[in-house]
Amino acid sequence: MHVNNTSTEKESLTKRKSILGIRLFFIYLICYAGFVLIGVFQYELLAFQVLGGLNLALAYGIGLIIFAVILGVVYNYYCTKYEDEAEIEQSDEAKEGGTV
């Protein structure tokens, strides 16, 4: 029983992390595809001055790079949190079951 429970917990942890990863991936994909689509269909927009005298192309491009790093940090934070929670749950169950 114990082995099965652990396995289920692990699977649920994997699933939580996997869902988080997929969500963050799609958020980034939309932003990335936005850049490509503006380039193809609304090219003139890229010349628009937006930030500190930079055109949209530069601001968007640099923004995509910084955003990837930010999402990476967010992903790591939540995955670590999920893993810690799973460990606590696991140790609690072990105590309840009388094992260490």
Binding site: G21, F25, F35, V40, A47, I65, I66, A68, G72, Y75
Partner: protein
């Protein structure tokens, strides 16, 4: 380009290469089993691994290629930086941890962890080999370019030198050495790029970029001709020899003191002008002249300058020190002189001519100079842009030499931390490439014959020591990347193909031996291809490797991880369709047509990057074939593995 040997650069170069090879031997002594040869025994710290990831990834394509393409084509070069980094998102969010749970040593092992299919083993090892070879080509081309100014060697000798050193490293050590070497040079590359960017901003923008004698600015001649009936008849102080129309341009050959020079004939509100061009002329007798004179006379100049600097609406001669924002916005308002190439025959002579093309900063800082998506765009050029961005985004996670690093840390948690550290380091570096590339474009340092040397040549303008260290690091960058790729290739041959597919069941020692022989063979092949692709921008070449990786490997990986009905036949078929379709499109592309000596405009299609077609084809294949040929064990194996 004409280069002089720099002895300081040589000294640093040999010290650094000696250090790299020494480290490889040191760690090589610790490497005995096949597990430690391929994946360093899973003992690498995540921090080291993260920077080594960055070291792997910041190859010749990033440092040499992106900076070079930004210097020549402006924002279009930065597209590569955006796409290369975006690819890490796929790697981190979708692939990193599931992959870590699946496999042992190679990409093929991971794909095959849920099935024990010989078809997957065979197709995946072929995929690994082909992607590695396509990634090796630009590294070797970059190596040849680097060695030319560093050692005064011809391109082919540089390629040979890198190939030889890497074969020694790989054959003597293995993954352990390459991880630490990649860590070292990845870290150094980022630090040195920061230093170079600091110098660029400190110097600011100037119309006459002189660097204390290390790189004196040459002002190109402008002459006023007499014109009759659309022909240049006389030019004061010069004899008119001939004129030649190429496309919508006309070039005029003039002679003075027995030396012939070519000029670009332009017309503006002030009348007719002849602007000096740069030429490389291969004469009928085989002699090569640079600007009408032998190489030794040094009349072939470095280029890239500004014809107008505007700051806050005011035209100035120079800006002085600027902030990063001021640098970028001043460039947007100013005018940059690029050099464009045309080729033509002049009697028995073959002429490569580079003429001045003043380009508005606003245009230079937008996509469109290489990948036409705005003005002058057509359907092919727009599809090509989408295809490139798709390949860059999807290719990273599917590169075999990147994936192999997921195995070199102990846990999925460490693999994740490694990847995030790598993204941060690489992202920071890519923002710096923007400044290094633009700095090269306006500081009179460019070699018109090869864009790949933009960043190192800029470093040379700022001082011999900086140049020498950056060249040595860039060289080590190529060494490390090539070593990693050759390890991945030899793994595909020795482990996947011979050991698993042919079921030779090699014991530990023969397995390492076969790996080393395979490394030697791949190394020789890479050397030959590196020589063949001389002169092409390395980022552009890497775009091909990414497209093949994305098409061959990624659909298989993603379906395996996220669709339970994926069958072994579907995976194998998808890999093969991805490889074949992407290779077919590349081999019939305009660039390859040009390499075959044919007219690029007459190529079968005008798509330079295949991903837009080959990736969806591979996705469709894995889906349909998995439905038609379901997996043999009814999915139990997969479910068990997912549970694990």
């Amino acid at each position: 380009m004409i280069y002089e040997i720099s002895y300081i650069a040589l000294l640093f170069f040999f010290i650094f290469v000696g250090l790299v090879v020494g480290l490889s031997f040191y760690f090589g002594r610790k490497t005995r089993s096949s597990a430690s040869y391929y994946a360093a025994g899973g003992q690498i710290h995540w921090g080291v691994n993260g920077i080594a990831f960055a070291g792997d990834y910041l190859s010749a394509a990033s440092f040499l290629g992106i900076c070079g393409m930004i210097a020549i084509s402006g924002f279009d070069g930065f597209l590569y930086a955006i796409g290369f980094l975006g690819g890490w998102v796929v790697a981190l969010f979708l692939i990193a941890e599931p992959f870590k749970r699946l496999g042992k040593y190679t990409f093929t092992d991971a794909l095959n962890a849920k099935f024990n299919s010989r078809a997957i083993t065979l197709s995946a090892s072929i995929g690994t080999l082909i992607v590695s070879i396509f990634y090796l080509i630009p590294q070797m081309v970059g190596a040849g370019d680097l060695v030319m100014p560093l050692l005064g060697m011809p391109h082919w000798a540089g390629v040979l030198l890198v190939g030889a050193i890497v074969i020694v490293i790989v054959a003597s050590a293995g993954m352990a050495s390459t991880t630490y070497v990649q860590f070292l040079k990845g870290g150094l590359l980022i630090v040195l790029s920061l230093v170079l960017t600091f110098f660029i901003l400190k110097n600011g923008l100037t119309l006459t970029p002189d660097f204390k004698g290390s790189s004196s600015h040459y002002t190109f001649m402008e002459l006023t001709p007499q014109v009759e009936n659309e022909k240049v008849t006389t030019v004061s102080g010069w004899d008119v020899v001939t004129q030649q129309a190429v496309g919508d341009k006309t070039f005029v050959k003039l002679s003075q003191d027995g030396i012939e020079r070519w000029f670009d004939w332009t017309q503006d509100q002030n009348g007719h002008r002849l602007k000096e061009a740069l030429t490389v002329t291969q004469q009928g007798n085989g002699q090569i002249l640079y600007n009408g004179e032998p190489k030794e006379n040094r009349r072939f100049y470095q280029v890239g300058h500004m014809s107008k600097i505007v700051v806050n609406g005011q035209e100035v001669q120079k800006t002085g020190s600027v902030s990063p924002f001021e640098f970028l916005s001043a460039l947007q308002e100013s005018e940059i002189v690029r050099f464009l190439q045309v080729k033509f025959s002049d009697g028995e002579d073959q002429v490569s001519l580079y003429y001045q093309e003043p380009t508005a900063g606003a245009t230079f800082m937008l996509p469109g100079l290489k990948y036409k998506i705005g003005r002058d765009a057509n359907l092919w050029s727009k599809l090509d842009f989408i295809s490139l961005m798709l390949a860059l985004f999807l290719g990273t996670a599917a590169l075999p030499h990147i994936l192999i690093r997921y195995y070199t840390v102990k846990t999925p948690r460490d693999a994740r931390k490694s990847t995030i550290l790598a993204i941060a380091a690489i992202g920071g570096f890519y923002i710096l490439t923007l400044f290094m590339g633009l700095g090269s474009a306006v500081n009179g340092v460019l070699d018109v014959e090869s864009s790949n040397m933009a960043a190192p040549l800029l470093a040379r303008a700022f001082g011999a020591v900086l140049f020498s260290i950056i060249s040595a690091v860039a060289f080590a960058t190529v060494l490390g990347t090539v070593a990693g790729l050759i390890v991945a290739s030899s793994g595909a041959i020795a482990h996947d193909f011979i050991d698993v597919y042919l079921k030779k069941n090699l014991s530990d020692h023969p397995k390492v031996q076969v790996g080393k022989i395979a490394a030697f063979a791949v190394g020789i092949f890479a050397i030959l291809l590196g020589m063949a692709f001389k002169g092409i921008n390395v980022s552009f070449l890497v775009g091909w490797a990414f497209a093949i990786a994305a098409s061959a490997n990624l659909p298989a990986i993603l379906f395996l991880l996220f669709w339970k009905k994926t069958s072994e036949t579907g995976i194998a078929a998808s890999i093969i369709v991805g490889i074949v379709s992407s290779l077919l499109i590349i081999l019939t592309s305009p660039t390859m047509w040009d390499k075959y000596g044919l007219d690029a405009a007459g190529a079968w299609h005008q798509l330079e990057n295949p991903a837009l077609i080959s990736f969806p084809l591979a996705v469709l294949t894995v889906y349909l074939v998995s439905l038609w040929y379901p997996k043999r064990n009814g999915g139990k194996a997969i479910e068990n593995n997912v549970a694990k």
